[in-house]
């Protein structure tokens, strides 16, 4: 069975700096892979490269078996990938509903999915006419996830969905991640909160200084005392 995502020996450079060095990871179909590591370890760069927004200088990215290395963003979205990026990046000057409409415009039957999103995230339904910039951080995170789901993806890239949120909101976000996993969506989850991420993930990769420091099942990683001390302290 082909994986939803296979990254092999990925290199990404910012000028002379190799921000990502030979990273390999995979997300099984219907699986959740956690991508962990300290600030500046290269997690976001890896995710942005997968999404087509950073130039890949070496290695391969395959999405559902198709080689998408160096493909532009819109081709990667059409291959079934959507992203809820670091910092949420909702369009603050657009209404909640317009954020969703715009994201749905790249796939058909936008109205039905918009209704489904408002049902799944009732707070977005209540605030549909409000400017997205006026939502709270947690609500913006909901919107970022809903916006990503508007293109009907099969693989969701989630970059730091819990960052800066109140504990109650974090619980809600992780409940949603569990639900999406239950519906068969494949997820690559970048998290600083390693303990939480390892609860939902069935595979985990730890990055340090742009390279893979460890990989395995959550049980393997949680049992590794050195890793826990160095990278997973949540």
């Amino acid at each position: 069975m082909t994986d939803a995502l296979t990254v092999h020996d990925l290199d990404v450079r910012y000028g002379p700096v190799r921000a990502v060095r030979g990273v390999s990871l995979s997300v099984a179909k219907g699986g959740v892979t956690a991508l962990l590591g300290a600030n500046g370890a290269g997690k976001t760069t890896t995710v942005m490269a997968i999404a087509g927004a950073r130039r890949v200088s070496g290695g391969q990215v395959s999405i559902f078996g198709a080689d998408m290395t160096g493909a532009p963003e819109d081709a990667i979205v059409r291959a079934g990938v959507a992203i809820s990026p670091e910092g949420r990046r909702v369009f603050g000057a657009l209404s909640v509903e317009d954020n969703l409409t715009l994201a749905g415009s790249v796939a058909g039957d936008s109205e039905a999915r918009k209704a489904a999103m408002m049902a799944r995230f009732p707070i977005l339904g209540e605030r549909r006419r409000q400017l997205a910039g006026l939502l709270s951080g947690g609500e913006q995170q909901m919107l970022a996830v809903a916006r990503a789901l508007m293109s009907a993806p099969r693989l969701l890239l989630m970059d730091e969905p819990s960052l800066g949120l109140a504990p109650q909101m974090i619980d809600q976000i992780f409940t949603i991640i569990e639900e999406l996993k239950g519906e068969g969506l494949s997820i690559l989850l970048v998290e600083q909160n390693a303990a939480l991420a390892l609860e939902v993930a069935d595979h985990a990769v730890v990055l340090a200084n742009g390279a893979v420091a460890a990989a395995g099942t959550p049980a393997d990683l949680a049992g590794n005392a050195v890793l826990r001390a160095a990278y997973l302290a949540a």
Partner: protein, 295 residues
């Protein structure tokens, strides 16, 4: 009283032209951070389109259409030929590229057509006057006010209600995020240039109808005023550009009408002095652009 009403009509009509030009500049700037110095040549190109269409015997209404299409075509062409290759370059490189485009077009106008003004003759009825409640008002200024309002309203509806319009507003905020949603940024940028070309084309029609001629520098001076209007309104702010356009137009007409003769040579200095005074009080302009917090 009559003079006052006539001057208000003139101010709105001139301000409307500045507003449309400033809006075209602001639309492009808000998305690609390009201060398009060649915007004036888009307007001039539209003027020559009208001239050539009339020369070949097309009826005036068709010539107007040709002028609009010519402006749109040159705007899309300069995006594709000059600015797309510079995507992501810094503001100064983009500005210098637009200087080059502007100079190339001006030389083409001079050598291809004429360095001197060529006449554009619309039907006499277009340049007539009419009377309302004892006040004589020009047809062209009136029509130009109506056309300006229709254009601005149409653009507002487009930006607020349609998906391409939403994409343009989103692109102004965070174009990388828009790409990550799978929206093709090149199309959004092309639509921005198309709209700025259309607005410059409308300005060209109004300008030539009022002045009756085209020359290679026709677009230069009004666009210079439009630049001032965009800065006054807040660089990158669309509503600011429109407001700035009307303010600059009103100041220009008022100083022309009511300034004593001795001060007339200082008209532009007085207008610009007013702009500087406003910017000292509001450095981000009258209606600052909403920019995302991301760097």
């Amino acid at each position: 009283m009559e003079i006052l009403i006539q001057q208000i009509v003139n101010a709105l009509s001139l301000g409307g032209v500045y507003a449309m030009l400033a809006l075209g500049l602001a639309i492009v700037f808000s998305i690609v951070r390009l201060i398009n110095f060649a915007h004036g040549e888009i307007m001039t190109f539209g003027g020559y389109g009208i001239f050539l269409a009339l020369l070949f015997g097309l009826p005036p209404a068709a010539a107007v259409l040709v002028g609009l299409l010519a402006s749109i075509a040159i705007a899309l062409t300069m995006e594709r030929a000059a600015f797309r290759a510079m995507r992501g370059a810094d503001v100064v490189s983009l500005l210098i590229t637009s200087f080059a485009v502007s100079e190339i077009l001006k030389v083409l106008f001079q050598n291809g057509i004429s360095a001197r003004p060529v006449p554009i003759t619309f039907p006499p009825s277009w340049s007539g006057t009419y009377e309302v409640a004892g006040v004589t008002v020009g047809v062209v200024p009136t029509v130009s006010i109506i056309v300006t309002l229709v254009s601005l309203t149409g653009l507002t509806v487009f930006l607020r209600r349609t998906v391409p319009g939403m994409a343009m507003r989103a692109a102004a905020e965070d174009i990388e995020m828009l790409r990550l949603l799978g929206v093709r940024a090149n199309r959004v940028v092309a639509v921005a240039f198309l709209l700025s070309g259309l607005l410059a084309g409308v300005a060209a029609v109004i300008w030539t109808a009022q002045r009756g001629s085209v020359d290679p520098l026709m677009g230069f001076f009004p666009v210079l005023k439009a630049f001032i209007a965009t800065v006054l309104g807040g660089l990158g702010s669309l509503s600011g550009a429109v407001l700035g356009g009307f303010v600059v137009g009103a100041l220009e007409v008022l100083t022309q009408a009511f300034l004593p003769d001795a001060l007339a040579p200082y008209r532009d200095a007085i207008v610009l002095g007013g702009v500087i005074a406003v910017l000292l009080l509001r450095p981000d302009g009258l209606i600052p652009a909403a920019r995302s917090a991301r760097s």
